[in-house]
């Protein structure tokens, strides 16, 4: 059973979902925004899971002050303090993975483990991520899901968001574009990854057509201690398409 909170973290309205008990895990969401998935549910059986919305995702009119990853990193410091999270595992997916990596190169001592899932963040020659803001849902689904016209894909990325979900989806797109417009990486991150002295798991969907799996190996190469696990049957969201396998891999890694 998960619990919902609304907190203000350094001026940004933040939705926080918490579930489970045990080792603290902080989950940073992808550009789809703050949504509870089967992967969250499955992982919360193994740990104390905290999933916050990233700044601006609740209200994109309040994005002032968020201009790049550094701003999110400082916000994350405030978040750890506000929630008294002591050396959590930081798990980031896609856009959130990039933010987690940016945090880890600056404050590795504040983390016990790092998990990057189909993460943005790196410039990899010949493997530019697809432009999620240029492609329509029917064009994106084959890049994001192993079964692009199956019920999971259509639930998570319908051709048009349902009227109830419309406003939240629009805010999420604005907040994501603020950070990830056209080139979702920082050119300096790769050279800084050696500073992230914290055990890392790099988890990737083998059929991710948005962020090519070459990015997983680039992270593995530059992080001091990293292992790559590729989940063959999944696209960009292994926690949606293969939630049990995903939770099992993460649980094994965090012990």
């Amino acid at each position: 059973m998960s619990e919902e909170l609304l907190r203000e973290i350094s001026t940004y309205a933040t939705h926080i979902t918490q579930a489970g008990s045990g080792r603290p895990v902080l989950w940073l969401h992808d550009s789809i925004g703050h949504r509870w998935t089967q992967g969250h549910e499955a992982l919360s059986l193994h740990c104390s899971l905290t999933a916050p919305s990233l700044p601006g995702f609740v209200d994109s009119a309040a994005l002032d002050g968020i201009d790049g990853p550094e701003d999110v990193v400082l916000w994350l410091l405030d978040l750890l303090d506000a929630l008294t999270l002591d050396r959590p595992v930081m798990l980031g997916c896609g856009l959130g993975g990039w933010m987690a990596a940016e945090f880890a190169v600056r404050y590795p001592e504040r983390l016990s483990r790092l998990v990057l899932v189909d993460a943005y963040g790196l410039q990899v020659n010949g493997a530019l991520p697809a432009d999620e803001f240029a492609l329509t849902p029917p064009m994106l689904r084959p890049l994001l899901f192993s079964d692009p016209e199956g019920p999971i894909a259509l639930e998570w990325l319908p051709n048009a968001p349902s009227p109830e979900r419309m406003e939240r989806t629009l805010h999420a797109r604005v907040a994501a574009a603020r950070l990830a417009w056209q080139f979702p990486y920082s050119t300096k991150l790769r050279g800084r990854l050696g500073r992230a002295r914290v055990p890392a798991l790099v988890l990737w969907g083998g059929r991710d057509g948005l962020v090519p799996v070459a990015h997983a190996y680039a992270y593995e190469k530059e992080l001091p201690t990293a292992q790559v696990v590729v989940i063959d049957g999944a696209g960009h969201y292994p926690y949606i398409e293969e939630p049990d396998r995903f939770a099992e891999e993460v649980a094994r890694f965090i012990g």
């Binding site: 994005l63 329509t136 419309m166 406003e167 604005v174 994501a176 574009a177």
Partner: protein, 397 residues
């Protein structure tokens, strides 16, 4: 009423099956479809069509700015305006760029518009534009900053024109230690400012507050929706303590005039469909990138569309019934424009005579008929009293 001929400089040579093979004429529409040899002829033909405007008695021409597309081939409207300073002597040159959000050097805009104003003898009207969503993809400008970049660039340009330099500018998006634009514009305090819009409430409110001219854009939208925007603009002017001048309400619209109604439709329709089905062909994502308009505004537009816009315009009857364009004999076009003018209060008409792949002879004929048989009957409608001061319309008060 005053008349400023609007031109898009469209690319008329897209392949027959373009609609089946492409989902957009913008951003990623491959530029191998552009043929520079045909392009050479075309630019010069289009410049001729704009230069003709003066001898036909119109008040001005409008050039505009779009990037990486087949819809409009003026990535630099300033270059076309520069050509026209040499081809015309009296008419206004309305430059609709510049897209202020796209440039990291708004001073370049201030310089070029001032150059054109000085060269033309004070004939420039400075359009100041946020830009379509497409341009943010083509120029890699983060659209979540669109509005604040626009407003900061606008303030900087106006200040560069009106405040003695050098002075420093320390903004969020732009920093210049030395703002000191040479040349200064000829029109004092600065060239009039016009702002186009497609109904976004934020733009309407801001333009009314600034007392600029608001142009209801000619992009395909039903008459009722556009008339509502003009009405909102007039209400906003009242809220700001003044009554809108007629010239502050600009109205872009596709027009075609021929000898009879039937002939006009027969001659115009195929070229209209080329425009509507090929040049306007686009992805929703390119049209409205995140943050280009506020979420509130996007929700409003979606709602208005659900109510007001036909899902897909597929028949000519629908186009005519909804008033997307005005096509007919001189009497038909004159009567319809008179009706629209009296309904909306517009004093600035921006007719676009060159649609899609319409050949030059038809464009020329239509403009001549309009000038001879339509314009005279409309000149005396919605005329403003002269402004008291020497300040041009569009000066901030």
């Amino acid at each position: 009423m005053r008349f400023y001929v609007f031109h898009l400089m469209p690319w008329p040579y897209l392949p027959e099956d373009f609609g089946q093979t492409h989902d957009t004429a913008w951003v990623v529409c491959e530029n191998s479809l552009y043929d520079p040899v045909k392009g050479h002829e075309l630019y010069n033909r289009y410049i001729d069509e704009l230069a003709m405007v003066e001898e036909l008695g119109f008040d001005g021409v409008c050039v505009n700015e779009h990037h990486q597309n087949a819809y409009g081939l003026m990535p630099s409207p300033n270059i076309i305006a520069a050509c026209l300073t040499q081809r015309t002597k009296h008419i206004k040159l309305v430059i609709l760029g510049n897209v202020l959000t796209l440039y990291d050097h708004p001073l370049r805009v201030a310089e070029e518009i001032a150059m054109l104003d000085v060269i033309s003898g004070g004939r420039v009207i400075s359009g100041q534009v946020v830009g379509t969503g497409n341009e943010f993809f083509s120029y890699n400008v983060n659209p979540t900053y669109a509005r604040e970049r626009y407003h900061e660039a606008h303030e900087l340009i106006l200040k560069a024109w009106t405040t003695p330099g050098p002075f420093p500018w320390e903004g969020k998006h732009f920093q210049f230690r030395y703002v000191n634009v040479w040349p200064r514009p000829l029109q004092q305090p600065h060239p009039p400012v016009w702002v186009p819009g497609s109904g976004s409430r934020e733009t309407v409110e801001w333009v009314a507050k600034q007392r600029y001219t608001y142009m209801v854009l000619p992009t395909l939208a039903p008459y009722a929706l556009r008339a509502r925007t003009a009405e909102q603009f007039r209400e906003e002017c009242e809220k700001n303590g003044y009554t809108a001048r007629h010239e502050q309400i600009g109205w872009g619209v596709g027009i075609y005039v021929a000898e009879t109604d039937a002939q006009a439709v027969a001659e115009y329709e195929p070229h209209f469909w080329y425009y509507a089905k090929n040049l306007l062909r686009n992805r929703d994502t390119f049209n409205s990138p995140p943050g280009h308009s506020s979420v509130k505004s996007v929700m409003g537009v979606l709602e208005a569309r659900r109510k007001g816009r036909p899902g897909n315009f597929s028949t000519w009857e629908e186009i005519q019934r909804e008033g997307f364009v005005i096509v007919g004999s001189p009497a038909t076009v004159r009567d319809r424009l008179k009706e629209i003018a009296l309904h909306t209060g517009l004093g600035t008409l921006l007719p676009n005579f060159s649609v899609g792949n319409q050949p030059h002879q038809l464009t020329r004929k239509s403009m001549e008929l309009f000038s001879r048989e339509v314009m005279p009957g409309l000149r005396d409608i919605n005329v403003d009293a002269p402004l008291e001061a020497r300040e041009p319309a569009g000066s901030p008060v």
